[in-house]
């Protein structure tokens, strides 16, 4: 496995694991409160829809000319990467609340318990589970598609995604509780750095740029994006200290 393929697999695995943790929390809340068969049916239908999307669009993307594919893929990955990275930087700096799986679990359980029950098949449990898996999985499906198509290895990307789902579901079933101890922000930060770096790399190549050293420049690029992101975390954190010093000086008589 080449370095680019390993990075592809790692990016997809982490992105999928994070989204799977979030979807698992909702399915678990609905399943335990309402009706497990309906919640699992909703999950299954959404998973099949996502798999069908990847299977249908994967081969279609690979027939695009390489330059066009890289601009489209680079643009999408860079957009998603910057969105993930910005939120992860804000969370790491304490400027945005971290994802609290236990709080989300409690909210979803309360909402599920309050919703009216119907006899027979539980449409509420089905719909909520299906929606959660679809919404959380859609971005991962596009990451699988874009990474896989560009590396001509949709199979590897799909396998990494499936491994992440199995790992999360396995851990969740063993614990029978929301996976609150998964370091979600660290994983999102890593995914943001990787998506941004790949987006920059492929987007620039698609726009006609040549990287010094070709694919070997990917590792230094990841290092630069990581270092810059950590510097931004420190900069945002530093604003609190500056504000505190200024505030205490201002408050002095």
């Amino acid at each position: 496995m080449s370095g680019a393929e390993a990075s592809l697999a790692l990016s997809v695995f982490l992105a999928c694991a994070v989204e799977a943790v979030e979807a698992f929390t909702i399915v678990l809340a609905v399943g335990t409160t309402r009706h497990w068969p309906a919640a699992l049916a909703g999950t299954g239908v959404a998973a099949l829809a996502l798999a069908a999307l990847v299977a249908a669009l994967g081969p279609a993307l690979t027939v695009l000319p390489l330059g066009v594919l890289r601009v489209v893929v680079g643009g999408l990955l860079l957009t998603f990467g910057l969105q993930w990275l910005r939120k992860a930087i804000l969370r790491a700096a304490g400027a945005k609340d971290k994802h609290d799986e236990e709080a989300i679990f409690a909210t979803e359980r309360a909402a599920a318990a309050a919703a009216p029950a119907a006899g027979g098949f539980d449409g509420y449990a089905f719909a909520i589970s299906c929606k959660a898996v679809l919404l959380e999985g859609l971005e991962v499906a596009f990451i699988v598609l874009t990474f896989g198509a560009n590396q001509h290895d949709v199979g590897l990307a799909a396998a990494a995604a499936a491994a992440a789902v199995l790992a999360v579901v396995g851990a969740g079933l063993a614990l029978r509780a929301p996976l609150a101890r998964v370091p979600e922000n660290g994983m999102k930060f890593t995914v943001g750095v990787l998506l941004t770096s790949f987006g920059i790399f492929w987007g620039a190549e698609g726009a006609g740029a040549s990287w010094p050293g070709g694919e070997a420049s990917l590792a230094p690029l990841v290092a630069v994006v990581l270092a810059a992101s950590l510097a931004m975390v420190a900069e945002v954190r530093g604003r609190a200290a500056t504000a505190t010093v200024t505030g205490s000086r201002g408050a002095a008589p």
């Binding site: 957009t79 987007g203 726009a207």
Partner: protein
């Protein structure tokens, strides 16, 4: 007589794609567009362009964080 209002129209599909890609953070999409677009411009000028996309993307990211600061609750937790 009248068609159901919830039929799938091209406008709805475009709106869904826009929401999915751009979402609540149009700055990131603009930054990606600017990074790739400026790289193409620098390439067209015949200059080395590999540095353009990382420079624009990281500068845009930093610019998008310009007003951010840790919340009061977090700051007080840290200081206690």
């Amino acid at each position: 007589m009248t068609r159901p209002a919830r039929r799938v129209s091209p406008r709805r599909i475009l709106t869904a794609i826009w929401d999915f890609v751009v979402g609540d953070d149009p700055r990131s999409a603009l930054a990606a567009l600017a990074a790739i677009g400026l790289t193409a411009v620098v390439c067209a000028l015949g200059l080395p362009a590999w540095w353009t996309a990382p420079a624009v993307a990281l500068a845009s990211l930093r610019w998008s964080l310009r007003g951010a600061r840790p919340s009061a609750t977090k700051a007080s937790r840290t200081s206690s």
